[in-house]
Homo-oligomer: 257 residues x 2
């Protein structure tokens, strides 16, 4: 079981879209995949048509009330694809855990105690646009980091800080953590800006830069409004093809082939 | 002096782009405008070509070390437009202030004690993509809220939570706070998605929906890489025209004409 943190504190770069559609593409390839929604906005949860009500059990129950992970896992409409939903109460976790000893290791502990761990090939964490305790839990529990990135200048700005935080987690809490790759999202090859920023990313991250590119594609932005993955909403679209190609590259990279 | 919180916890919807270019458009109209960068990513700071070094004084000095606002204000390349920069240390403010009495009212206090308050017509706060203590400070200090919004489904999801938080601040800490308007950003009129989501925003927010629309325009995404506002980078672009039109609508709305 490989754990992957999908993270970038810059907002709106494609974290949720990547977590859902990469996971769905890996499931299509035959892998069993679990997605954890670690964002209080619960965009991933909505994207796969789950709407947590107040009674239901979400990521908050795991992080705050020590509810076992096995009780939280739900199936999605896609075969071999599962999800642990989030809800807006997750926003309060930062305060609730502020003084708890080892608060950044709660998720790792829950995954180590997860009896069905051997049934899953991948677990992907969709992180919020910040580097607080929720993202820290994801980085401590992860084997690799996947950094979606918009091919735009402001998105480039935060990369140094993100790498700094990852290195701190590697040093203090998770020495085995590796940066998997940087994935350019929402790429518009018609504009010079995309090309220039991609060149800049290549200079800084060279070998870590994925070969795949996720092109700007309105079908990817439509899919969440139907509670569907790109494969259910528009299987012939550029969005579907790009995530399929990236899933193949990603599986080969982590040696899961 | 009108204080405006530019806020939306959804990431990447155009908060920073709106704060910079609306402020610059208001400055062009003759108003004196101060921008406060409340985001640890410091995108606003970079957008107007300021690069805080470790010695310099930023929002962190105001919120954590009670440094007076007057000492932090810097001019920009645009006449009548000023900025208080941020830096990545602002990310630590959430923890540092966790147990301080009245931590959400620090910014309001600093503005009340600001001797040059009468010299400014507008103060705009660029908020991070979260609803923590930084955004709370902005909402407590603000007279009005401006909500930039992407005409996409996932951006629609968080609006109910945002309105809930605004109402809580109105009830407990800032009864005078009003929702100014909801501004559709990055609108691509060619796609049905934009039109559908705009219709949905209209049903929920009707009278609060701005008449202006900010169209998708690559010049707006290029400007920050030169440290310039849209007016310095591409004064004839759709981006410049759209923010000029919105600034006129906004000034009329707040009765500052
Ligand atoms: N390749 C793409 N083409 C077109 N639209 C896209 C693409 N990827 C994502 N989007 C849309 O762009 C917006 C931002 O994407 P998404 O919500 O996945 O980013 P995020 O990084 O998860 O945001 P946040 O920081 O708020 O968590 C969404 O409305 C999404 O539907
Ligand atoms: N109207 C527009 N047309 C094209 N690009 C835009 C437009 N508005 C913003 N952008 C670009 O989209 C990206 C997101 O915008 P911006 O950073 O202003 O959003 P934000 O809400 O401040 O993000 P965050 O949540 O990370 O603070 C940036 O790269 C910006 O340059
Ligand atoms: Mg997301
Ligand atoms: Mg911003």
């Amino acid at each position: 079981m490989q754990c992957i943190a999908v993270i970038n504190q810059k907002g709106g770069v494609g974290k949720t879209t990547t977590t859902v559609n990469l996971s769905a593409a890996l499931a299509q390839m035959g892998y069993r995949v679990l997605m954890l929604d670690m964002d209080p906005q619960a965009n991933l949860t909505v994207h796969v048509d789950k709407r947590p009500d107040l009674e239901s059990h979400t990521m908050t129950s795991l992080l705050v009330e020590d509810e076992p992970l096995a009780d939280l896992v739900q199936p999605t409409a896609t075969e071999r694809l599962f999800v642990v939903p989030s809800d807006t109460s997750l926003a309060g976790v930062e305060q609730v855990l502020a003084n708890r000893i080892g608060r950044e290791t709660i998720l790792r502990e829950a995954l180590e105690a997860f009896p069905q761990a051997q049934e899953f090939d991948f677990v992907l964490f969709d992180c919020p646009p910040s580097l607080g305790v929720l993202s820290a839990n994801a980085l401590v529990a992860a084997d690799r980091v996947l950094i979606p990135m918009q091919a735009q200048y402001l998105s480039l700005q935060g990369m140094a800080k993100l790498v700094e935080v990852i290195q701190l987690v590697q040093k203090r809490l998770n020495p085995a953590l590796q940066i998997g790759c940087v994935l350019p999202c929402m790429v518009d090859a018609r504009t010079n800006l995309s090309t220039e920023v991609l060149r800049e990313i290549d200079t800084h991250f060279g070998p870590l830069l994925a070969r795949s590119r996720i092109r700007n594609n309105v079908k990817l932005a439509e899919a969440p409004s139907f509670g569907r993955t790109i494969f259910e909403h528009a299987a012939d679209s550029n969005g579907a093809r790009d995530y399929e190609a990236f899933a193949a590259e990603f599986a080969a990279m982590v040696g899961a082939a």
